[in-house]
């Protein structure tokens, strides 16, 4: 199988879906000629023209609202939000409008749109360009949330998102755009709500999303050298969440750490950990541990930024303690 970057994978998914369905269009800032600051969309405007790859002024609430209206009336927009942090600007259109329309209309109206955006710190971009805000949107019923962890997932999840009849938010890890992974030439889709067991193990389950999947895999390798067998699971979508795969694993290993780059408090890790507690409590040998980003705005200084996110070393340390039966005060 060929290796392509996450950026190319997203580009391919969009191109394939736009060829398949003329109702799909892209809208956002500097998406056309510039192909976004991350160059993810390069070449699309050449193939599909400026009617389907639409550059907007810097007016996020405006073009997000327009995407909602276009989606309600028969188009399938893919909104490009340059940084995940800008979700705060479009919250009303996304959460009060897009998320609720289908329900409020008694199932009569649908809003089939995709919001493509990103997450992730340690890029030295400071507090307004580094947040991982997936928990905020996952909290709102009516929105689906996908979190690809490699080029393979990025492509398959994007194609599914475009075909879904609901608003779907996809968070890409901006540090991963140039990372390569094997991606089949032939078409494939990744269904929502199907976790991926990345590595099998028997002593502890590491459940990790997006950027944290690599962190968990590295930790698992180190743990293996110490005789601790860690299972690594990537939920791939946090809404819908594949509870069954997670529960089956935890019932087997009896220990779990949940790792996500969003803030730890009231976050994705808290939600998953509490579901495991509720549904696998009697199988657990240790409390389920959460590892999220520190509850601070992302600092600019490298000396501070690097300690705000979970690292393989800290996952290893915590896993070791959990397996040794030591009590941990959350990292």
């Amino acid at each position: 199988m060929r290796n392509i970057t996450l950026s190319q994978a997203v580009n391919e998914a969009l191109a394939e879906e736009m060829r398949r369905d003329p109702k799909v269009f892209i809208i956002g800032e500097d998406v056309a000629e510039a192909g976004t600051p991350f160059k993810v969309l390069s070449g699309l405007v050449e193939e599909f023209g400026t009617d389907r790859v639409i550059d907007t002024p810097i007016a996020e609430p405006g073009f997000m609202g327009m995407a909602v209206g276009a989606a309600m009336t028969g188009a399938r927009p893919v909104v490009d939000l340059m940084f995940g942090d800008f979700i705060f600007l479009i919250m009303d259109q996304l959460c009060n409008q897009a998320a609720k329309t289908h329900y409020m209309s008694g199932g009569k109206l649908t809003v089939p749109l995709v919001l493509r955006t990103n997450l992730g710190a340690t890029r030295r971009s400071a507090a307004q360009h580094s947040q991982s805000l997936q928990a905020l949107v996952a909290h709102i019923p009516g929105l689906k949330v996908a979190m690809p962890s490699s080029a393979y997932e990025a492509k398959g999840l994007m194609k599914t998102a475009i075909r879904d009849n609901n608003p779907v938010v996809i968070f890409e890890d901006k540090l991963m755009y140039q990372d390569k992974a094997p991606v089949p030439e032939e078409e494939y889709l990744i269904p929502f709500g199907e976790a991926n067991v990345k590595r099998e193990g028997s002593d502890i389950t590491l459940i990790a999303t997006s950027s944290m999947v690599q962190v968990a895999e590295k930790a698992a390798e180190t743990l293996a050298t110490e005789g601790i067998s860690a299972e690594v699971i990537d939920p791939r979508t946090i809404v819908p969440l594949d509870e069954k795969t997670l529960l089956d694993s935890v019932r087997k290993t009896s220990r779990a750490i949940v790792i996500d780059e969003g803030h730890q408090s009231y976050g994705v890790t808290a939600e998953i950990a509490s579901r495991l507690n509720e549904k696998a409590f009697y199988h657990l040998d240790a409390p389920v541990l959460r590892m999220g980003a520190m509850d601070v705005p992302v600092p600019f200084s490298p000396a501070l930024e690097d300690i705000t996110v979970p690292t393989p070393e800290r996952v290893v340390e915590n896993a070791r303690k959990l397996c040794a039966g030591e009590l941990i005060h959350a990292a």
Partner: protein, 325 residues
């Protein structure tokens, strides 16, 4: 350019401040190119007359809000090189103890409420500062700096409406440098930018942003009137950025030509223009100007060296300042 006034000190200070901004940016760019600066930064070079012309009409009690392209505003409002370079490098002695970096430098001591990484994000803040001045009976004025691209944000129209309704002492300073990121202004702005302010009954002016004396002259008049409760005002300053959108934006020919860049740099540079005015009016000699330039370059180089050697914040500062005491 107008005839020299008796107060030549003002002219020399404006020249000095513009050269300081240019020197700061040249050094910041160098830090990026030599991989010594974490992350990216947006250069203000070419737009110096805007920040300096405006800030020289303000006092330390007057406030400004700044943008992602904020080094120029910061220097013009009175900031020191050392603290600024320390902030750019994420060091503890930076204006924000390394927590903010280039896109969030704030300098409380000179009334700079901070750069902002959200385009248009400071318009509410600036207008709110003006509301406070009115409510508390202070006569300070707030200047809101923002780019042409930011005029697309709806927030601007919400706050201009209120500022006009309540006669707030705020001056909206739109730095029209012809581009937002990789897109030309005419592709993102319908109609006229000044007419939008006028629709709210706000007096609006378009001014040559490469002419520091024209900018300063207009700002002085508007600030004086805003202090008396005649605000708000709107200025559109026609200017140009010499570098890319950010320091990493090197290949720009797909969105703007080298000829265009050359024309602005060679024929409309605000520093060259003021320099020839100073010389032709007998305010300074070429030698005096060269000496001033050299001194500023030395200052900047020393500040860079200082910042490079300075310490990072101790890690226990990471969860400090999340909440105020």
């Amino acid at each position: 350019m107008p005839k020299a006034k008796t107060n030549t000190e003002d002219y020399l200070r404006m020249y000095r401040q513009m050269v300081r901004i240019r020197a700061f940016e040249d050094n910041a760019n160098q830090l990026y190119l030599s991989a010594k600066m974490p992350g990216l930064t947006h250069m203000y070079s070419g737009e110096e007359a805007v920040a300096v012309g405006i800030c020289e009409a303000l006092t330390d009690d007057d406030r400004i809000t700044s943008t992602h392209r904020g080094h120029g505003h910061c220097v013009a409002k009175g900031a020191e090189f050392k603290e600024m370079f320390c902030e750019l490098l994420g060091k503890a002695e930076g204006y924000c103890r390394g927590k903010g970096g280039s896109m969030h430098i704030a300098d409380q001591s000179h009334g700079n409420l901070g750069a902002n990484a959200i385009v248009g994000g400071s318009m509410g803040i600036a207008t709110g500062s003006a509301l406070r001045a009115k409510l508390q009976g202070s006569d300070d004025v707030t200047v809101c700096f923002f780019g042409d691209g930011a005029t697309a944000q709806g927030l601007m129209y919400e706050v201009m409406n209120m500022a006009a309704l309540w006669n707030l002492p705020v001056i909206y300073a739109c730095e029209n440098n012809g581009y937002s990121e990789y897109t030309k202004t005419e592709e993102i702005a319908a109609g006229s930018i000044t007419a939008r302010a006028e629709a709210f009954g706000i007096e609006a002016h378009q001014v040559d942003g490469q002419d520091v004396l024209a900018v300063n002259d207009l700002t002085q008049k508007l600030v004086a009137r805003a202090r008396k409760g005649e605000g708000p005002f709107f200025m559109e300053l026609m200017t140009y950025r010499y570098h890319g959108h950010h320091v990493g934006d090197i290949n720009r020919e797909y969105y703007r030509s080298k000829d265009e860049e050359k024309d602005w740099k060679e024929n409309r540079d605000p520093i060259i223009r003021l320099r020839s005015f100073l010389v032709s009016e007998g305010i300074a000699t070429e030698d005096e100007i060269e000496a001033m330039n050299a001194e500023i370059e030395k200052d900047a180089a020393e500040a860079v060296a200082y910042a490079e050697a300075a310490a990072y914040p101790p890690v226990n500062e990471v969860d400090m300042h999340v909440y105020a005491d």
